[in-house]
Structures are given as C-alpha cells and as structure tokens.
Amino acid sequence: MKPANWVIDRMGIRSFINLQLYHRVPRRVSPLDFLGLGTLFVFINQVVTGIILATWYNASVTGAYQSVQRIMHTVPLGWLIRDLHYWGANFMVVLVFLHMLRGYYIGAYRKPRELVWLSGVGLLLITILFSFTGYLLPWDQQSYWATMVGTWMPFYMPVIGYYIVLLMRGGPYITGVTLTRFYAIHVLVLPALFLLVFGLHFYMVLSKQLTMVEEAEKLPKEKQRGLVTFFPTTVFQMTMFLVILSAALLYFSINFHAPLLAIADPLNKAHYVPIPLWFFFSIYQLLKYIPPALDAFGIIGLPTIGILMLVLLPFIDKIPDRKPSERKGYVYSGGIVVAAIVVLTYLGAVNQGVAAPVQAASSYLSTNAATKTATLTLLGGYGTTNGGFNFNGAANGAMVVTIPQGWTLDVAFTNDGSLNHSAAITASQTSSTALAATDETPNPVLGDAPGAKSSFTFKATTAGNYVIACLVPGHIQLGMWAKLVVAPSGTPSIKL
C-alpha cells in the first residue's frame, strides 16, 4: 500500500477525495477559472521566498538597508529571491483583483456562496496589508516616506484617528520601532491570518461547489457528454496555467529588478518626493480632484464605502437569475468602477510617481550644419531621477553637450517638474549667475512655473568648459546641472 493511500485510509477521507477528484466539470475552460489557483500559487511563492529573505534580513534602522543590499549583491541568487518576492507581491494584487472581478461578473458571490465572497474580501484586505507592511522593510527613501504618508491617513478617522497612528508607528513619526512592528506583522500576523481566512475560503469552495460546476450538473443528460472528470483533465489544464504563470513571474523577476533607492533619510536632504504604492495611484489621483474641504472624506470615507459595498454585495443582489445578462445594472456599474480605477491608476502613474521613460540622448539635440546652429531640447525636472532635480533625467553633470566653437546653441527649455526651474549657461557649477543676461531663461532665480516653456540662444565664441544649470536657489547644489563643452572643432554631440 502506497504511503499516500495509507494516510488517506487512516484519515477516512477516501470518499471525499474521490468526490473532489472525479466530479464532472465542463471540458471547455477559460484561464479565468484558474485565477484563484494562481493566487494560491503566488502566495506559496511569497512564503518560500519570504522565509529565505527573512533569514538574511535585519530589521533595524542601522541594518535593514545594508542587509537588503547584501541580499541583492552578495548572497547567492539573493537578487532573484528578492525580485521573485517583489513581483510575486505585485502579481498577487493583480490576480486577487481579477479573481474578484470574475466572481462579480458571473455572480459567484450569491447565495449559497456568500461566505466564499466575504472570505475573499478578507483575503483582499490582507493582501493589501501585506504590501503595505512589506513596503517599509527595505528602509529606503521610498519605503520611509510612503509609510510616513500611509500611516498618517488614519489620522482623519473621527475620534480614534490619532491613536491608531500612534499604535501603528509606535511613536509620533516613523522610527526603528515602526520597522520592527511592521516586520512582525508582515511575517507573523498576516501569514497566520491569511491561512485562517484562506482555510474558510477553500472549505466553502469545496463544500458549495464552484458556480460553473453547478451549472454543468444542471445540464440535461444528453448534453452532459461534453463533461470530463476534474482529474486528470482539468488538473492538467491547471498545471499548464501554473507553468505559464510561473514563467511570467520569472520573466519579470529576471528582467525588471525591484528598486532600492537611497537609504531612508528622515531629514530628506535630497528632496525626495514620496510616491504611493502603485495600486493606490487611483485613490491618490482621485484626491487631486476633491476640493480640500472634502479631503478627509476622500482619504477615509471613500475606501470605507468601497469595502462596505464589497461586504454587503451578496445581501443586496436579490435578482432571481444569476446570469450576467439578467444583472445588467450590476455588470455596468461594476464596469464603470473598474474603468474609473484603471483610468485613475494610469493618470496617477503618468502625472507623478513613476520614473519618466529614458529617451535616446540624440533625440534632445538637432543640428543644422549650414547655419552652424544646434538646438538643444532641455526638460527641467524630467522624471524622478535625483528627486526631480535634473535636466532630461540626468543630474550632477551626467549629461554632456558638446558644440564646436563658432556655432550657435538654441536652448528650448520646458519645465517638466513639479517645482519652479530655470536654465542658464554659467562658467562653473559654483557660479550662481549666467555668463550674460542673454544666456538664461527669463526668470532664472524665480524659475519658470511647472509646464512653462521658454528659450534662449547661446553663442559659442570661446572654447572651454561650461555648465548648464538651474539657478533657482539651492537647485544647483542638489545636482541640477549638466556639462557644456565648447570644442575648438568637430561636430555637435550629446551624451546622457
């Protein structure tokens, strides 16, 4: 007798297992049927990679950042473990979202499956808390400031708000106390909670059957010939789905690495601008359209209403027929909410937060040999490089523009950042004034407002090394300068 059979016999679950393995299901399946399975797979990935990371990680202000660096650069395959964990977290949020969307569309939350849906809502919230607590652990600028903002949000709850902030942070601001607190919740509390709620979710799925299986069994006898047994046909399809999913996870992990910014600086000397987690972009963008008087409602009220709607959904929808075509109101209103979330997430991503795409250096410089004129496109504060203090995404002299003596350089300046910026040609990076009044944008010290455009023309009469700088006080010291070389001869060039 095989060991597996022996265990099954002793447990007395033979008939249960046979029922689960050999129940009849439709032959035709869609990948959408496997989103829950995919979520479970990614959760297991999170557990395995998380345990490995925990063995190297040091949850302290002095050690956290260095231990993550060590994982990335020294520990064998540590970078892959970290990237699998990072991408697994992102995959999980997307899979949970799609899984719930499918359940919403086909009405899988309805009686008698209310508990499947409610435990699913619980798992969604736990997944979000996993991301929120895990985000702080690398202790870089992004972690620190996003957590500062995120943990202040409960402040706007009536009466208990500030007490919740203090309890989360373990003090008035983010410190090492917050870090160990978040670590304990991330690796001890949430996994236990997740397994508990997942146990209920899975038990309810097994005991109440999947909606699609119920449909299949309602079919008249002659049509049931299209049915297959769950094992091995569907199990094989599931395996294929997991192979593709894991390949995607591996592809993202190998090609797009989890970021690690500069170590957290409570004084923020580099003027880093905090960015929320990407799946909060939609609410972050929405807050921009809400008048200041309703700000607290946007921060606390809207998410509360959203969660409440999800919880109450199984008890509100009383339409007799489950089919999407009979529940048009639910399908359309759900569609509008999802479309709004997608559009707001996109707007939130492009307006701030995500680093601007890097363009080919040559696209910034065009030349006309006949008139000996070069045109330089200069984007001040392009993307988040160096906290936005950059030209064309390059800071601290990383961009070098070279033009031959006797040429004319037309500078077309656009302030692409969120603060005022200017552009000027100066003698060196310690100079705070332009070479001449004609070698700068109109308001060099006050700067142009975000989105404004201006231009000036520089005549390269004397060979030598110059600097292109933003003359708004402090910006050049923060690294907002590029090199300009006037060469005795040659052709114009640019490198980033």
Partner: protein, 178 residues
C-alpha cells in the same frame, strides 16, 4: 437495515420528534428545566472565561504597543542666535529620540521661529522656497507662509511649531507642540 436518522434527546438518549434538543418525557418530568439551566450556566462560564482571556491579552498588547505619552522632546542647543538669519535653515532635531527636521529662522532680532518640516496634510517633507517666502509641500501642494500658517492646498492646519528657548545667546529647540 434502516438507520434511525431522528435526533436523540441530549438527556435520556431516546429519539426526539422534530429538531428539539430534549424529548417530551424529559420536559414533562422537569429534568429538562434543571439540566438546561445547568448547561446554560456552564456555557456562559466558558464564554466568560474566554472573553476575560481575550480582553486580558488585548489589554496587555495595547498597553505594551501603545507609545507612552511622555514629556515633549528635550531641549537641544542648535547654536548661537546670530547664526540664524531671516531665511529658514533645516535643523536635525534629535531631542525626541529620533531624527526630525525642524525649520528655524530669526524672524526679527531676538525672535526665533521653529516649525516641524512634516506637512500637516499627510506628513510629506515640506520645502522652504526662499524666493517666494513660503513652505511648499511637493506631495499634494499644500502651501504655508513664512509664519507657518496654512495658505493653500489640502492641509487642515498650519505647520506644527516647536518649543523655542533662547539662553546666553544660544538657541534651544524642544519638542513639537500640537
């Protein structure tokens, strides 16, 4: 063989008609009343004990994890008063036990102003714009004037001031005032 699927009386073990907990005989002779009363008492004792354990552990956790409200942060000497101009400089205040940014300036001779650099909206780090003479928050656009008062954006109040003391020509910064 047919199986009797009827429920059993939980006192005498005889079959019960319907879905009752006890049979008609036990109700009739008064045993049910005594037994059910005893069961209710024991069940409530169990719930009560579990509740007490729960409240105890919850109280223990909250008392342990909730930060003790102590006095404001200690005074920290940040240098001679003549070092400070009318323009704000960012000071690393550590008197509360952790690094905290505080903007300090000498508004007029002998008058020192000190504001915490966390925005009152969502605590992003505000930046002092010396040409516009205002604090700007890069996150959601709250703006404060040079006296820390809220003038634009979503913040519900002005910047948090810090305790300021001047002694023997030196400036001391203390904890944040709510």
């Amino acid at each position: 063989m047919t199986v009797d699927t009827r429920l059993r009386c939980s006192i005498c073990g005889n079959p019960v008609d319907g879905d009752g907990e006890v049979c008609a005989d036990c109700i009739a002779d008064g045993r049910a009343e005594r037994e059910l009363g005893r069961r209710k008492f024991l069940r409530n004792s169990l719930i009560g004990a579990m509740g007490l354990f729960g409240v105890g552990y919850l109280g223990l956790a909250l008392k342990n994890l909730f930060p003790a409200s102590g006095p404001l942060g200690k005074l920290q000497n940040i240098g001679p008063i003549n070092k400070f101009t009318n323009n704000y400089t960012l000071i690393d205040y550590t008197g509360a036990g952790f690094p905290d940014g505080v903007y300090v300036r000498q508004k007029s001779p002998g008058v020192i102003q000190a504001f915490d650099f966390h925005c009152a909206h969502l605590q992003c780090p505000v930046q002092w714009n010396s040409s516009l003479k205002e604090f700007q928050c890069p996150c959601h656009g709250s703006v404060y004037n040079a006296n820390g008062q809220h003038i634009a954006g979503p913040a519900p109040r002005g910047l948090w001031p810090h305790v300021v003391k001047i002694a023997n020509g030196n400036v001391y910064i203390g904890g944040q005032i709510d």
